[in-house]
């Protein structure tokens, strides 16, 4: 069986480093991107099964990338989990508006993220 590919997009290298073993232990292949532009490239190259996407990033933010992918026929079926430290209803609504499949607020329980990924992969 082909390994499930998880694209982890966050401009914080420390965050990607910490999350890698959490995802790898589930038997998933982890692909990293440090900015919006790189994320879009990796989506095209790697065709990930799911994307974990940070909202606040330089140049292209998570909302913009999410919207771009969700309006593209080729990629709109890839589930996207938005990660953000932003609070408030407006941001949550914006996440739904741009078509995100889930919205998780930092800091979070790693279990919570894993559960969310699994349920989106099964759907």
């Amino acid at each position: 069986m082909k390994k499930i590919k998880v694209l982890l997009v966050d401009d914080e290298k420390d965050f990607r480093e910490i999350m890698r073993p959490v995802l790898e232990v589930e038997g998933w292949e982890v692909i990293e991107a440090s900015c919006g532009k790189e994320a879009l490239e990796k989506v095209k190259q790697e065709r990930p099964n799911i994307i974990i996407l940070d909202v606040m990033m330089p140049t292209l933010d998570g909302f913009t990338i999410c919207k771009e992918l969700k309006t593209d026929e080729k990629y709109k079926n890839i589930p996207i989990i938005l990660l953000t430290v932003k609070f408030g209803k407006a941001d949550h609504e914006r996440g739904i508006e741009v078509g995100a499949d889930a919205y998780i607020t930092k800091p979070f329980e790693t279990d919570e993220l894993i559960k969310q990924i699994k349920s989106l992969l099964q759907a």
Binding site: F15, P21, V22
Partner: protein, 424 residues
């Protein structure tokens, strides 16, 4: 016969005399009636005139009555009070005497047009009309005109009201409104900045917290290779350091802003202080792959500084320079004597700062706001505002030269311990 004749003559003369007397009497009566009439009329006129004057004097406004030629024919006491002229100085004079000089020609034209079609109207509403006093001072007025037909000719009554107080009140109200709207605007801006600042700070707080939380969870639940374990410990440690820096930066800035930062200023050997600061970044520069060097002569004269604050300035500038310089680049520290000051520069071959952003890097809220807008993160965004405030607190000045893709040079001055001899 003669007698009869005579008798007849006398009779007719008597008759004539009687008739004449009668006629005279009639005429006398007519004159009497006329006299009475005239007397009554003139009394009437006098009474009316007095009545009119009484009314005029009782009116709260200044009244100027002007004939067709624009000559003043009657005024009330208010005019004397308002314009500072005596009655006899005005009667017979052109009404323009009461109009500011630069408007006199225009006023003559307006007056002529008005007499062609005189009707009741108010002038001055929405216009800035002024009266001019005998002493030349001007004051704002409202004027109401009303025509009066006498013997087929028009005269015009002008009711003039001094609206200085009204204007002042209006001005005060306008000013008060402006002030309160300005204050409201400022408050709104501050509150926007504050909420953005809180959002930014919460981002800065939550990011390292996320790392710590996830890191601890990993260490607890996952079987990790020793190398990965070590790395996660290091990230947690770094995140804790980031949090504590964030907190101390906030506290420092608060102290500086409230003027509570204490400086213990004494003469210090600058070369030694710079060497210590640079050497503390030895490891960091190696990790970043950036060359770090300093060119400060051991003979550089002593400076007046607080060593702790000086070290804080140097640490901030060096950290920034190394952070924003790509691998293979370099950071150099050097100094120059400038009058009674020593200028210390930290120059890098980094990414540089666009011109329009160069002043913003020293502004605490601005920079944070812009970074938030662009979604840029990393660092507290308070480092440079603190550096600038500390430099100024030590009596120096901060300066930045930068070019995109070439690098930045942050320089600051500190007072020399001994005044330099002027070089001729």
């Amino acid at each position: 016969m003669f007698k009869y004749f005579l008798k007849k003559i006398f009779k007719s003369r008597d008759e004539q005399l009687r008739l004449l007397r009668k006629k005279l009497e009639k005429e006398h009566n007519a004159v009497k009636i006329l006299e009475n009439f005239i007397e009554n009329k003139s009394r009437d006129f006098f009474q009316q005139k007095e009545k009119f004057r009484g009314l005029l004097e009782a009116a709260p406004d200044a009244f100027v009555i002007v004939d067709k030629e624009g000559k003043i024919i009657m005024i009330n006491n208010q005019v004397e009070v308002l314009f500072g002229y005596a009655r006899e100085e005005l009667i017979g004079k052109p009404v323009e005497i009461l109009v500011p000089e630069h408007l006199r020609t225009k006023h003559v034209e307006h007056r002529k047009t008005y007499f062609e079609q005189p009707k009741k109207r108010t002038i001055g509403i929405g216009l800035d009309l002024y009266g001019v006093r005998k002493d030349g001072s001007r004051f704002p007025v409202d004027i109401a005109l009303s025509p009066l037909k006498i013997n087929g000719d028009f005269i015009v009554t002008a009711a003039i009201r001094d609206i200085s107080e009204h204007k002042q009140t209006e001005e005060k109200l306008r000013h008060a409104a402006a002030v309160s709207s300005e204050a409201a605007k400022r408050e709104r801006e501050m509150s926007e900045l504050k909420s953005e600042f809180i959002q930014m700070t919460s981002h800065e707080l939550k990011t390292p917290l996320t790392h710590i939380k996830a890191g601890v969870s990993n260490l607890e639940h996952l079987k990790l290779a020793p190398k990965v374990r070590k790395r996660i410990f290091k990230i947690i440690d770094g995140s804790i350091h980031r949090l504590s820096t964030l907190i101390s930066d906030h506290l420092d800035l608060e102290k500086i802003e409230k003027g509570k930062m204490e400086y213990i200023i004494k003469p210090h050997h600058i070369a030694l202080m710079i060497r210590n600061a640079v050497e503390s970044f030895h490891l960091f520069s190696k990790q970043r792959g950036v060359r770090l060097e300093y060119k400060i002569s051991h003979t550089t004269p002593d400076v007046l500084v607080d060593p702790d604050r000086f070290n804080q300035i140097m640490t901030n500038l060096l950290h920034n320079a190394l952070k924003f310089t790509p691998e293979g680049g370099g950071v150099t520290v050097f100094s120059n004597i400038k009058g009674d000051y020593l200028e210390i520069s930290v120059k890098d071959t980094g990414y540089g700062i666009p011109k329009e952003e160069q002043t913003k890097v020293f502004e605490k809220y601005k920079q944070v706001k812009d970074r938030l807008k662009k979604g840029q993160i990393g660092g507290t965004g308070l480092g440079l505002p603190i550096v600038k405030a500390l430099v100024e607190g030590l009596g120096g000045k901060m300066r930045l030269e930068s070019e995109v893709n070439k690098g930045s040079c942050f320089s600051f001055t500190v007072p020399l311990a001994k005044k330099q001899k002027k070089v001729a």
